[in-house]
Symmetry: C2
Subunit: 243 residues, 2 copies
DNA sequence: CGCCGACTTGAATTCCTTCAAGTACGGTGG
DNA sequence: CCACCGTACTTGAAGGAATTCAAGTCGGCG
């Protein structure tokens, strides 16, 4: 609350700018949202399934994921998130969380009261449209994940997931797409692709053998994005250039 | 256009009533939407991937699905739809379809111009909220599908898909949950669960052997919903009681 | 220096796919 | 009314992709 919203909520404002044409008044309203900051550590939970949260978490720095589990202990990551993403936007209108939200790296989060977001969405139609569009793109990404997990073999599946991740990082202005280490462990990749960690390891080495990535000290670096997209059959249209 | 909106768009009105508290004025606006009717046959396409559609399809009778394909020919159904569902709501804000929409039975559809829906959403905040909530529930269902396809074995996976389908039919007021034949072919079940049609056949017979369903003339009938929910680990919370 | 978490590698096993060859049924036309 | 045909379902057998189990290795951190 002490910090200036323009500084701290900058990533959120930039994200909304990619989703709709904000004017100065819109930006002012976003920057004026009430919020409290929290630093979290890698693996910390931000939301737990079944929880009724009165606040939405805006990711400022670091990375996070949403995941669900089966009773038998299977874990499935359903999305990754980065700077500017609202991690539990659905809780503006749906009281109970249907999944967990967890930091995958050390991260900082701005907690915004859900009613403030809801009011903003109806008072400023452009922002409301941006939030609805964000939800629609979210849904589009989930559909692609259903296809990815349901119908692609392990190589294409892992490659596709990595292509999406790098494309979204680029869209969020986080890194140049060339040659950077992904903030993902092999276990996280496994949980996101519905594979076992052991098989992800083998698959990553297969991708390395094809010259698409380099695995070094367990870290993954994409060295030939074009080749990766070929292996993955990756077409970024579903991201709507704004995710 | 000739028909009365209260009659023809009734399923849409009832669906929106489950998503938000409409008043008479809201209902009047929905019933007054411009639309044209179309009868389609089983397997007909309503929207194709990549298309820029200026109209949204509201399903009045029959069933439909949305699906995506890989270049190698794999087909993945990402959702099933029934009376009252808007099949391509995302096209109000996202111009290009990221997937196909196809009738899975003979069906009747009301085509509503997207701008009319968009205007209605901003003019009538309650309706706008209902549509946003519908999108959020849609996304919640997709997340469950990612988990289903990614982490459950064939038996639980098929059972879960059938539980969801029957629960949604019930919510839409289409049938009593007890003992009715599902309007799904084994190939459709396969495409929705990421399995092969052959294995779906075997899985259905396994579910029959456990007394959960009856397969007769290739048609599936759920005879023990409670047992099905147990096998599927089905918890309807993610449907938010309104899908 | 030793421990811990994450990655690596091999071998056996399992679940599901693919291929192939049927069967049953509803619709169509003679 | 019946023969034909196509579609969807059924069943068996062989093969393959990914899992599981088990035993390492590597590097960072206290």
């Amino acid at each position: 609350m002490a910090a200036d919203g323009y500084d701290v909520l900058g990533p959120l404002i930039r994200k909304l700018e990619r989703l709709a044409e904000l004017n100065d008044a819109d930006r002012r309203v976003v920057a004026g949202l009430p919020f409290t900051m929290e630093d979290v550590r890698k693996h910390d939970y931000l939301v737990r399934e079944g929880e009724e949260a009165a606040h939405c978490a805006v990711l400022i720095t670091g990375y996070a994921c949403r995941h669900k589990t089966t009773r038998s202990g299977g874990r499935q990551i359903v999305s990754f998130h980065m700077s500017g993403d609202i991690l539990n936007l659905q809780q503006v209108l749906l009281p109970r969380a249907d999944h967990h939200v967890q930091a995958t790296t050390d991260a900082t989060v701005a907690w915004v009261p859900s009613p403030a977001l809801k009011t903003m969405a109806s008072d400023r139609p452009t922002i409301g449209e941006a939030l609805w569009r964000d939800t629609l793109i979210d849904a589009s990404i989930f559909r692609e994940w259903v296809l990815n997990v349901g119908r692609r073999n392990s190589t294409a599946r892992v490659a596709h997931m990595l292509c999406e991740f790098t494309t979204r990082m680029e869209a969020a202005g986080l890194e140049t797409p060339q040659s950077f280490y992904l903030p993902l462990s092999q276990e996280q990749i496994a949980d996101a692709t519905g594979l076992s960690a052991v098989h992800v390891n083998r698959t990553l080495h297969a991708l390395q053998a094809q010259g698409a990535i380099v695995v070094q000290r367990g870290q993954v670096r994409v060295v030939d994005p074009e080749r990766m997209r070929g292996i993955a059959e990756f077409d970024p249209a579903y991201l709507q250039a704004a995710a």
